[in-house]
Every structure is written in C-alpha cells, then in structure tokens.
Amino acid sequence: MTPHTLSPPIDDGAGLAAVNEPPPGWPDRLLTEAVRALEESRGSALAEPAADLRAIQAGGDFETRVIIRARHLSVAEPLRQALHRVRRRMVWGVGLAVLLAFLMGLGTGRVLLGLPGPAPVNIAWLLGGLLGPPSLALLLWLMLLFLPGSALGGLLAGGVAAAVRTVSLRVGRDQWMVAAMEAFFRLGGRGSVGRWSLSALSHALWAAFLLGGLAMGVLVLSLWQFEFAWETTLLTERQILLVLGALADPLAGLGIAVPDVEAMRSSRAGSENLGAIRGAWASWLMAALAVYGLVPRVLLFALSLGLGALARRHRRLDLSALAYERLHERLMVPGRGEGIVDPDPGLMDPRPVASGVAEGPPLSGDGPVALLSVEMEPPREHWPPDLPGVGWRDLGMVDSRVERQRVLQSLSTLTPPPRALVAVYSLLSTPDRGVGLFIGQLVAAAPCPVLLLLSDGAALRRRGDPGQRLEDWRRTAGGAGLPTNHLLELDLSGPADIIRGDLSRFLGLKEETPP
C-alpha cells in the first residue's frame, strides 16, 4: 500500500550547481591538504560553522564536502598565497637545476672532446661518454617505472626536489608556508602524480644536459678540426663495425649524412686519411646524440607532463588521516532537520489564557462535599479525611469515557445536592486540552461550585522546578471557568494533619483550634 504523498520529497543535498560551487580540482585538493596540515599543527580542526554548513548543504560524498569546506575557511586565502609562493619557489628551483644541467652538459662536452691533438679522438669513447650516463639513467627510470608501488620518477629528480624542499624549509618559514609545503609534497610528491612530476623533471634535466653537450659539441666541432677513429685490442673489427653500423643505420634512414660501412672500416686508428670522413663522423656523432639522447628525453618529457596532468585530474585525497576522520563526524552528520512540513495555522491557541476571575463565591449550604478522583487513585488511608462539619460524598475514581459519562450524568441527580465538588488531579499529569475540557464539563454539569485539588506536588518537585507546571494548571483551570481561589495544591501523600488543615481552610470551614 503506497501512502499518498503529503510531504515534499527529501533531497540529499542540493548538489554543487545549486550552491554555486565549481567542481573540485587539483588546486582545491592542494588547498584542502594544506588546511589539514595547518589543523594538524594546531591540534584541532578549525571551528568555522559557516564553512561547515556550506559543505553540508552542498551534499555529495565526504571528499567533496571537505574540499568545499576548505574553500570557505578564513585561512583559505593565506594558504592559497602560500601555495603560490611554494610553486614559485619550485619553479625557480627547477629552473636553476635545469640551467645547471645544461651547464654540466656543456662542461662534459668540452671535457670529452678536448681540443684537437695529434691523436685522433676515440669515437666510441666520445659517444659512450656523452650518451652513456643518460642512457643508463633512462634504463634505470624504465625499471623503476615498472616496479610496483614506487613513486620514484628518477633518482636525480628526487634529489633535486629534496634539495629544494630542504632549502625552502630553512628560508622564510611561517605556518602558512610550512602547511603549503607539506601539502605540496604529500599530495604532489606521492603516488602517480609524484611519479610523473618527478619523471618530467628527470627528463627535463637530462634533456638539458644533452642539449648542453650537443651545443658544446656543435660549437667545438664547428670551430676546430678533429679526426675521429675507433680502436680496439680485444674485440674484432666486425664486432665494432656491427655496433657502429647499427647506430648509423637509423640515422641514415633519416637522411643524415653518416659514414657508410667502408668509411667506417677505414677509420680504424692508425689508418691514413682520417680527415676525409671527419665531417661524416661529426654529423654521425651529433645526430646520434640528438636522436638517441635528446629526442627520447624530450618525447618522454612531454609524455610525463601529459600523464602527470591526467594523474592530477584523477587524484583523490587520502582521507584516512586522523584530521579527516574528525571532520567526517562533523560533515557527514547522521541526521539533520528538514524543516516544517505542515505548519501551525495559529488558528487557536491551545493553551488557555487564565480567566479574569480570581475570587469565586464562597461555599454555601450544608450539603455533602462530593469527591472525585480523576485519572489517579485516591489515597488508601485517611481518605476522605475526617473534617468536622463535612459530610463526604465519595464518587470514586474516574478514567475511561464510559466512567466519565456516568459521573457527569449522576452529578445532576445527586441527593442531597452537594455544596461543592472537589476534583482531585495529579500535578504530574500534563494539563492538556482534554483535561481542560473535562473540567469544563464538570463545571457545566455540577449543580455546585467545582474545586480543584492538585496532588503529587512532592513528586513533581523531585523532578525539577514546579513553577511552570503549576502555572499551566492554573491557566487550564481558569480556561475551564474556575476562579483562581478554587484551586489548591495539596500533596495527598503528606502528613494527615496538614491535609486536614489545608483542606478545611480550602473548603471555607472554621479554623480548627490547635490542640
């Protein structure tokens, strides 16, 4: 059976678009991590309910909420600036490192080539010296890449990054920079983002190095005259030519002028006329450096940048840290108010205003006093109390509808007619509309004044301050037409003499002379 919908469907969060928030991106995640680092150093989460509220309203999963909260914190602005400064420092550091690599490349090229001397330059040694370290590093990088779980993008790059970090930590340290740096390195230095960033740096450094070597090589070879030869003692001519030829063939395919097999054979050290093919060898050397050294590095650099950007887009925060767990409890509330779905039309105030009558007419006549317990049992002992001049007509206890109807009907037919009706209620029960209605019905049906006796005062006081409850009873009685002095608070579980005394005063009887 489907209930018909009365209330509006509950929405699980307005969604980012509804609260005008752009979807989270990499800078947001950096900011969030920086906020976390800051909160960790301070020891507790920042108390900004406004930001929390925005996050909760935006809805979505926990990560989204944390990010949106971070955006709206008061510390977001200084942290963003600190992150900018960190990025700038990194850029400077990287730039410096690249420049250094370039200079080292220049230096290496210079050292390896030297100046032309009497002996021809050993072509194999030259190429090995220039291409060897970068190629070995590339091999190492490839191996580390396929090593599972490693974020290392290159030992050299890692070293550079660590150096920048250490220097930064010593210079210009405030809480914003510390937090920003921690965010940068924790988020950007680990996982696949870290791997591709470091790889890009690594490739950039080696590319710079090779460029330096290439530049120096071209410069020196343009201005000086060298002669190249290969030599070997242990290996055979065929083996050497195989290697050199293998290196030369792809270059020839690219259209670069390289020595052919015959020219290579004739370049063995000690041969004559090495000068004729020096140009070919030089171009072979430079081309090999470019094609086997520089170009792969440049391509890999571009690839690393691309993969890094992709990794940044897919990177999610690691939410297992303690600081995030604390936020979890705050942002992923287990319950929330949804507002009023059926408002109070305010037509009638259910709480009656007390009637203006403070004093009712005194009791007259000499009929019995009718006694009625409503919704509570009368006391077992000394009830009704023995009062001189009072004949009690005990109507018993009334609770259900049937009993009430019976009592109301019997009231008009009581003989002899009572001079008053005492209705006993418990203060512990809430004086609601139903109570007021019945008191009104008693007032209407009774041929005499109705007096209200409120018991259980001691129990009420044990629960707390009785003031409001007593006031509510007064109002309810007043609303039903009872004057204020027809109301008595008297605890029927109290001492019997007090009960007798208070009750007799209430009924307007003469004061009993104290014994």
Partner: protein, 494 residues
C-alpha cells in the same frame, strides 16, 4: 525479496539508493517525541522541548542519514491532547456503513472538525497516514490510563504498524512493567525502552530491530542504519581516544625553562598551568564537538597543578628507569644503522657492525637527553614540567567526560559536571605506571604543540604519531570494556 542478511548493507550502499522510509513519531502530549527526534538525529537543536502541553504544534521532519544520504525521514507531530473526544467522534463517524476504519479516518480528516477543534490531532493523523510506520512515545512515568488506550485504538485504526517506545525508563518513577503488561494486552509486543536523556546504544539498535520486524519492506534500510550507527559509535570512541592521547602527549612533552632563582617562586608555575588549562579546554571542546554537543553543555573545574617541578635527579628510580628506556630506543635505531653497514660490506663483518651500532646508538641517545638537561642546569635553568600525578588527573577527567558523553542523549537538558568522586572510581590509571608512550614523550619536548620554541611551525613527526597510536590503544581499551560506554537501566543522569 532479499532475505535479511543475505546482502550486506555495504553492498547496497554502493548502489547509492535507499528507499526512504517514513516514520511518524506520535503520542500523547509532552511524552518526549521531540526529544526522541533529537536523540535519533544526534542534534540538540531540533524543534523545541519544554515541559508544557502543546509545545510542538506543527509537523517537522528530520532525516536519518547514511553517508550523507537520507535513509529514513522522521516526522515530529503535535501531541494528542483530546484523544477521548477524538475517539468519540471517530466512533460516531465509523458506524455509518461497513467500511474499513481507515476510511472513516479519511472522512474525518476531510471534515470540518479536523480543521477546527481537532486540528492538532488531525495533523498527527494525516502525517501518520502518509508514513510507513509509527513510533508511539510513552512517558513511562505516567500512569496507564484510558486516554492512552483510546490513542492506541485510534492509531490501530490507521492501519500502520506501531512500535511503542517507552521514554524516561531510567527514572525511579518509571512503571515499565505496567506498561508492558498493558501493551501486550493490546497486542503490541514489539515494545522498546529508549531513554532520550540517558543514551543507550543497544536501546537504539533494538528500536531499529523492532521496526525491522514490523516493516519488512525496509529491512535493508534498517539493517544499514544499525550498521552505520554501530560504526559511528566505534569511530567516535576511537577519535575520542585519539584526542585524549594527543592532549596527554602535548602535556607530557611540555617543558618550560626558567632561571633557577625564578623557579622557586610560586608564580613560576603560572605559564605552565595556563598552557595546560587552555589545551585541556580545547580538548574538551573537541570532544563535545565530536559527540555533537554544545560548549554550554559542560561546566569544567580548574585542575590543581600540585607541583610542576622536575628536578634533575639522575639517581632517582624514575630517572634510572628512564635510562633503561632511553637506551632501548637509541639502541634500536643504532642497530638498524649497523645492519645497513653490514649489507653494504656483504655480511663480511659478521654482525659486528650491528652490535657496535647498537652500543653507539644507545650511548648517543642517553647522552643526547641527559646532555640537554645537564647543559640547562649548567646554564642556571630549571625545567618545569607537568608531573605524573597531574597527567593522571588530566587523563581521568577526560575519560570521565568521554564516558559521560557516550551515555548522554541529545535530549538531555542538564549540564554535564564531573565530580571528583567519579574520577577516583576509575581504577585503570590510578597507581599504575604511566604508559610507555607518555614516558617517551617526556624526552621529546618538540612533541608538544605548546612548546614555545616551535611557535607556529609545529609538525607532528612519524615517531610522535606512533606514540599517539600506541596511547590510543591503551585508552580505548578502557572505553571498550563492556558496560563502560553504555548507560544501563537504573543509572541516573550524570
């Protein structure tokens, strides 16, 4: 139909969609319906609670969320005040023709009186008809009266499953047995005792379980709710332990240097004391925040800092014991360095380097910490620290607070106040030696956030984190003991 337990709630969670269950919270006026809502949604700010009749006069909704998504909606309704009159009316209406009682109620709701005299009751009934299930809240201190019978009769006519919820069962005036008997006679057996002031997590679980037994169509949702609340509880205990551990390490590691002549004056302790006081206050606020209470819910006392002095006494048993620990820590670090050397030399040194490293590490470590103290003493400074007794007191106070918070329902109105008596009752920390992590913290002043030397640039290192983790384990061991974190029946509010 998916049988209960065959699909784990977490697998459904990944589907992302819960059929939203609608629950109406109904009952006589002033029985604690709004309080029940507050406790279930863990929000002290929902609705208005007072001891007067007709406090709630509208229907207000609240959602129970799992992972931020609504799983159930609770509807707080106006209390039933004139149930007898209403029952009479409905009886008169229902006698016309043979129809289901629920149709008679629909006709009543469409009539004039529903907008006039019985406006409040009509609101409650209308909401109930729109819901899957009703929670009928009873003040267990009330006598069982005819008007309650009439109310339940009316609810039964609405043809919705009803779960009676007994509130205020922890009070001495509660008449739970009478109610139970009465409700059983009416055929309502799935009754729940749930005190909104003294929170009992088992009580909440039983409430959901009873609802589940009556409402098969939302069994998955209720299973997920039970699971989620249980995990929430565990998380809260773990986090509370972590906050306390953090506080204790901050305080244990704190060290202030004062010139020796100043150290003998009474005012020398004041900066230490105010640091510790502020830090404790922050921890208290964090704990209140964690359990979703307000700062105004707690009244704290000032902790007496008996003697914050830690003199340099190399021959005290405490100091000698510290030497033992210090050596242990240093030795391990040194030993590892030695092993690395071994690997590089291909194991040729046959472990000698390892042994040597261990000795060196131990020596350096001891020299390090004592070196600092000796240097300070030589320069004429004394270290002021928080002593063990105060640390214990701090721990006990916070543990008492955590336990009080675990037992506090969100409808509670009184403030939490910790009494000295309560703390002495907790045996766990009295008289035993402090946990190793705290003793370790003594030797690392840089582990304290309040360390003046690290103004603004504090970073918790790996070793500090490990110390915190180990301390958390010690602490949560106390909190997870059976009976430690649940309010039991008969206990008065703290």
């Amino acid at each position: 139909m998916i049988a209960p337990g065959s699909s784990t709630p977490s697998s459904r969670r990944s589907a992302g969609q819960w059929p939203v269950m609608k629950i109406a919270v109904v009952g006589h006026t002033n029985t604690g319906k709004t309080s029940l809502m507050r406790t279930l949604i863990r929000d002290t700010g929902f609705g208005e609670v007072s001891d007067r009749p007709a406090t709630t006069r509208h229907v207000e909704a609240a959602a129970l969320l799992i992972d931020g998504k609504p799983a159930a909606t609770l509807f707080d309704t106006p209390g039933l005040e004139d149930s007898m009159g209403l029952a009479e009316r409905l009886d008169a209406l229902g006698r016309a023709g043979e129809e289901h009682w629920v149709d008679a109620i629909q006709r009543f709701l469409a009539g004039e009186e529903a907008a006039g005299r019985f406006e409040q009751e009509a609101k409650a009934l209308r909401q109930l008809l729109d819901c899957h299930l009703a929670l009928y809240v009873i003040d267990a201190r009330d006598r069982v009266l005819a008007k309650h019978r009439d109310e339940l009769e009316i609810l039964a006519r609405c043809a919705r499953p009803v779960v009676p919820v007994l509130n205020f069962v922890s009070s001495a005036e509660a008449r739970s047995d009478q109610w139970r008997e009465h409700l059983t006679k009416l055929g309502l057996h799935a009754l729940v005792e749930f005190d909104t002031v003294v929170f009992n997590e088992l009580g909440e679980q039983r409430l959901f379980e009873k609802m589940r037994s009556l409402l098969d169509s939302h069994a998955d949702t209720l299973d997920a709710l039970i699971d989620d609340r249980r995990q929430l509880r565990r998380r809260q205990i773990r986090l509370a332990g972590a906050m306390l551990a953090d506080l204790l390490i901050d305080v244990a590691a704190l060290r202030l240097l004062v010139p020796e002549q100043e150290a003998r004056e009474a005012t020398a302790l004041e900066p230490l004391r105010s640091s510790v006081r502020q830090r404790e206050q922050r921890c208290v606020n964090d704990l209140l925040d964690l359990f979703r209470f307000r700062e105004t819910d707690f009244e704290g006392e000032d902790i007496p800092l008996s003697d914050g002095r830690w003199g340099l006494d190399l021959f005290s048993p405490e100091a000698l014991r510290r030497v033992g620990i210090r050596t242990g820590g240093g030795a391990v670090a040194g030993g590892l360095a030695g092993l690395a050397v071994d690997a590089a030399t291909g194991g040729l040194s046959l472990g000698m380097a390892a042994a040597l490293g261990a000795t060196m590490g131990g020596l350096m470590g001891s020299i390090g910490s004592y070196g600092r103290q000796i240097l300070d003493a030589w320069r004429g400074y004394t270290q002021l620290r928080v002593d063990d007794q105060t640390l214990r007191l701090l721990a006990l106070r916070q543990l008492a607070l955590i336990q009080a918070l675990l037992r506090r329902g969100h409808a509670a109105q009184e403030k939490i106040a910790l009494r000295q008596r309560d703390q002495e009752a907790r045996q766990a920390w009295q008289g035993e030696r402090l946990p190793d992590s705290l003793l370790q913290a003594r030797d690392h002043p840089e582990w304290s956030r309040m360390d003046p030397a690290q103004e603004g640039a504090f970073r918790p290192g790996r070793r500090r984190r490990q110390a915190v983790q180990s301390l958390v384990r010690d602490i949560t061991g106390n909190l997870n003991r059976p009976g430690a974190s649940s309010g039991s029946k008969g206990e008065t509010t703290t």
